[in-house]
Symmetry: C2
Subunit: 612 residues, 2 copies
């Protein structure tokens, strides 16, 4: 007795014995998927879907999958058994990337084909009969591999004679496009690394990648030390414009920070900085200007123009970044003064310029950027959301970090979670959204954003036992969201002013979305997929983001969280030079929409300040 | 009464009054020619040829033109009058270059179209309605002129915002190909300069050129300070190979020398070094290696290979050459270890790769290089001629300079000329050739190269009154070529050893020519034009060079002197980027023939040591 199973979308059918586990069945069918935890039923990542005949869920599946997903037929490939004839759908994101490819957060395959590559050459030494110059030996051997070299860096030429004769004419040439940038004795092809950096206004995040396999070897993040001169880009722009030495100082600060990131990455992965040959950075327009030592001051005054927009290739060594001295640096192109390379990187990850479906990317960081469109037309704008979602300007706000309240509920009673399960010390972005959403549902906050005093509290408030948590202080009304007795380090309050800050921030984002949709001639219902980018997006509850009207009411399965997509987009460009062209193209193609100049801006903003 | 004159090869006919001077007649016909001395009958450069009806030569013509030329109908356009109907042939080398072109020594028109150019742009500032970035303003304005820019140097981007706003958005962009390397406020298009350098083993010669007009603004020459470490390339190669610090030292010496040349050129022409945006150098392979800091040591040991052969683009600032910090440097490509970019430059001037006529270039400097061929096939070799033709290793030898005997005759009596008409202090290359040629004709030197003692002197020697000049000293036999009583600073002798040195040198050159001809399957009679390059070639008497069998017996009008063609070839590349491609192509196309390895080398060399 065998049962037929069909695997989709590959449409492969095989016959198996009933009660065969999914894992060997897929292997038999030649379908490779990822088991990040080694198939031990711990990570819940190997989600597959049974079209019909879903087996009874195992305990691990009940823990790691939502009831809704289980109902839809989702199971874990490492746990499930195929009881009888079945159809199994393999989502793209669980598939193992074929050799030479990596998978993105969204399951997209990215071919590893970087700008910089290494080629090992066992050369035939020159002779009196064949007096080829050292560089001609290299040219000839490369030509035999179908590679034609056009030029050399001076330093590669300088090292060539000695390198060639060190290991019996066996060398490894490092090529950037058609230029030879370095030569090393022997075979060092396995040692080729690249670094992707997301230069955020607040946080600098970096990854070290193996440019042969695309594998991520290490990741790190540091605070952007420029924060000393203001938390937002406007303060940095002003500081840079005050004195030429300030521009130098800001450049030095970000360079030092990147060097620290590189050092940490290298130590962790046992890589030498000189083995890193390519650096790709994504940052907002101001951050990119500061990195390159170009004044951003005219971004800050009307007509708000940057010095440059295009992606820029540079020599990291020239600005003091310590990698291989001939490493190639590249900053992603900007769209406008306030929509930068980080947004372009997001757009790469969200494949915004592919297909006809209307997509929307919202990147909420220190600033907020919104893009909507498809391959026909792309519109972008920035929303002056301020740093509320990063915890700034919130009484007990803090950045996402140990002890930050990242989840909060008051139904049926007040409960909260903190990052790292540490004692609560403050509230981060996702916690804020939860608090406001829950307090709205509990009617402690009214649609205009006003906190209700206990005497005015509705029956709902009383039923939640919230009334006693509402207190009046010198700062006005406030809600005790976590107390010492509940395991917090201190009593943590949420104030009337905090609601107002959040209203300003979410109103700015919502306004940007609405006005871009107007400009495009679409409504929120037309959005096929909405991507939430930024560290904040990783932790936010989608339904709560909708409850506070930060994002439009869409079916939840049309909302995808793509995390630090700026870093991932930089990684795309680092791993595959084709994405560099795509980035340049979409940056040129995207229309920047200036909201402040529009007659409908004030009204829309005012309307978006309130809650539904 | 008018007379008809026809101008060839233009085939223009006009009618003039008899006895009209040539100059206004040519102007009437619309033919522009150069009068380097301003038409004052002093330089003898405005040579034209009467087909028939040549007028009686004026006194200036009799001084400045040879009797033979006068007989052939050559006259000076600034002196001659047209007596009656005539045909006038205008040689290419006297024609005035049309706008945007310069004329080479050989009368070739070189279009001024350099790699680096300046473009003035009066930009429309950005506005809220049209938020173009600073660099996009430049891109857009250039695109309107049909120029598409692909990238920027970081420093150009860094200066752009301030430059743009300094003179009301009027800027000058300096472009190297499709890359913007600098921006300056206002219109500086008139200030665009380039520098061509011939890096000789002994002498470094440099020219400053206006890259808008191609005009030579200044020229200078300095001794190569590397000479401290040996007069020939072999000594430099050895010194460089002894210790890495020696390579650095030699590089620093040549860089300092080039900087001194640039300083002198700039002072003379009132140009700032930062206004020089392009530098092109021609040098032999070793000189080029040393300039770029690449060890030449393997050129010196079997199998005698250089580190690189191709032309190399570099940043002069990186090696310490003081021009504009973003200026582009380019070293001409080499053919082999001992045939370098200077020879390739000669080949550009001699148009070796054009046409089917067999041509030969002989460049006699500290080393000797010979090239023969045509567009089908090109062969090159080096002849270890040694520095005898530069006066080295000759008892009273000296470089061409004030007081050097550059012409010598003993028929009917001893007479000599010196450079600058200064009292004689020594003998330079062309003087040596004259002395040997004359002493051969006078039978003081026999065909084997032996000096004849006075008792053995033939009647011819006696008739020349030379017998009393032949003396025996501790150095062996010697000839007094100039005495104090004849106006020399000291008694100047020519020794038996000097004849031997000259025999070795001329034998090496003649052998190279003969063996290349053999390899090509041609004889010397097949050579359509033989070009003599190098400072030495400027002063040599062609018939004397043939008398000593330095060069083959060809009709004298097939021999052309092209002076410092290495410098002129570098100038070609500087003025017109198309010549860079040509240089790369001919360097790759030219076969290097290693003479030392050939079985027929020793015999041919021995045979070429003697005199005809």
């Amino acid at each position: 007795m065998t049962a037929k199973i069909t695997i989709l979308p590959d449409n492969i059918s095989i016959r198996i014995k009933p009660n065969t586990p999914v894992k060997p069945a897929l292997e038999k069918a030649g379908i490779a998927i990822n088991y990040p935890c080694g198939g031990r039923g711990r990570c819940g990542k190997c989600r597959i879907q049974f079209g019909v005949s879903a087996p009874k869920p195992a305990p691990a599946e009940q823990t790691l999958l939502s009831a809704r997903d289980i109902k839809k037929g989702y199971r874990l490939a490492c746990c499930a058994q195929i009881e009888r004839a079945a159809t199994i759908i393999i989502p793209p994101e669980v598939r193992q990337a074929p050799e030479g490819r990596v998978l993105s957060t969204l399951g997209k395959q990215v071919e590893v084909d970087p700008l910089v590559r290494k080629v090992f050459l066992a050369l035939q030494p020159a002779s009196i009969q064949c007096q080829l110059s050292d560089s001609d030996l290299v040219h000839t051997a490369l030509r035999a591999k179908g590679i034609s070299l056009t030029d050399w860096t001076s330093s590669a030429l300088q090292t060539l004679p000695a390198v060639l004769r060190q290991k019996n004419h066996s060398i490894t040439a490092t090529l950037a496009g058609t230029r030879c940038i370095a030569v090393e004795p022997g075979d060092t092809t396995k040692r080729l690394f690249g670094c992707a950096v997301d230069i955020g206004t607040t946080t600098v995040a970096a990854q070290l990648l193996d440019l042969n396999t695309g594998k991520e070897l290490a990741a790190t993040a540091l605070l952007n030390p420029q924060s000393e001169h203001g938390f937002d880009v406007i303060s940095r722009i002003q500081y840079a414009g005050e004195d030429p030495s300030h521009l130098k100082e800001l450049q030095k600060k970000i360079v030092t920070c990147i060097n620290r990131c590189i050092k940490a990455l290298c130590q962790h992965a046992r890589v030498k900085p000189e083995e890193i040959f390519h650096l790709v950075t994504a940052g907002n327009t101001t951050m990119t200007h500061l990195l390159l030592g170009v004044t951003p001051e005219f971004i800050g005054v009307s007509p708000y123009v940057p010095a440059f927009r295009d992606g820029h290739e540079f020599k990291p060594a020239e600005i003091g970044i310590r990698l291989h001295p001939e490493a190639i640096g590249y900053t992603l192109p900007n769209i406008g003064g306030f929509v930068g390379g980080d947004t372009v990187a997001d757009m790469l990850v969200a494949a915004m310029a592919e297909g006809d479906a209307l997509r929307c990317v919202i990147d909420i960081g220190t600033n907020g950027e919104v893009v909507i469109g498809n391959r026909q037309r792309l519109l972008a704008t920035s929303a002056a959301a301020g740093p509320a979602f990063e915890g700034a300007q919130i009484s007990h706000g803090m950045q996402a970090g140990p002890g930050a309240i990242d989840g909060w509920t008051c139904h049926p009673e007040v409960r909260f979670t903190t990052i790292g399960d540490a004692p609560a010390v403050g509230i981060c972005g996702s916690g804020l959204v939860d608090i406001v959403a829950e307090l709205l549902s509990a009617e402690v906050i009214d649609p205009s954003g006003r906190l209700q005093t206990a005497p005015h509290a509705t029956s709902r408030v009383r039923s939640h036992g919230l009334a006693r948590r509402i207190k009046r202080s010198s700062r006005g009304l406030q809600v005790l969201v976590a107390s010492k007795t509940e395991g917090a380090k201190r009593n943590i309050y949420f104030t009337q002013n905090d609601v107002r800050q959040l209203q300003l921030a979410k109103g700015a984002i919502a306004t940007a979305i609405e006005l871009l949709l107007n400009e495009y001639g679409a409504t929120s219902a037309d959005i096929q997929t909405l991507y939430l980018a930024g560290a904040f997006g990783n932790y936010i509850r989608k339904d709560h983001a909708q409850r506070i009207a930060l994002i439009p009411k869409l079916p939840l399965d049309r909302i995808q969280v793509i995390g630090d997509a700026a870093l991932e987009g930089a990684k795309f460009v680092l791993l595959n030079t084709h994405y560099r062209e795509t980035a340049e193209r979409i940056a040129r193609q995207t229309e920047f929409v200036e909201l402040a100049g529009r007659p409908d801006f004030q009204d829309t903003f005012a309307a978006n300040m309130s809650f539904p």
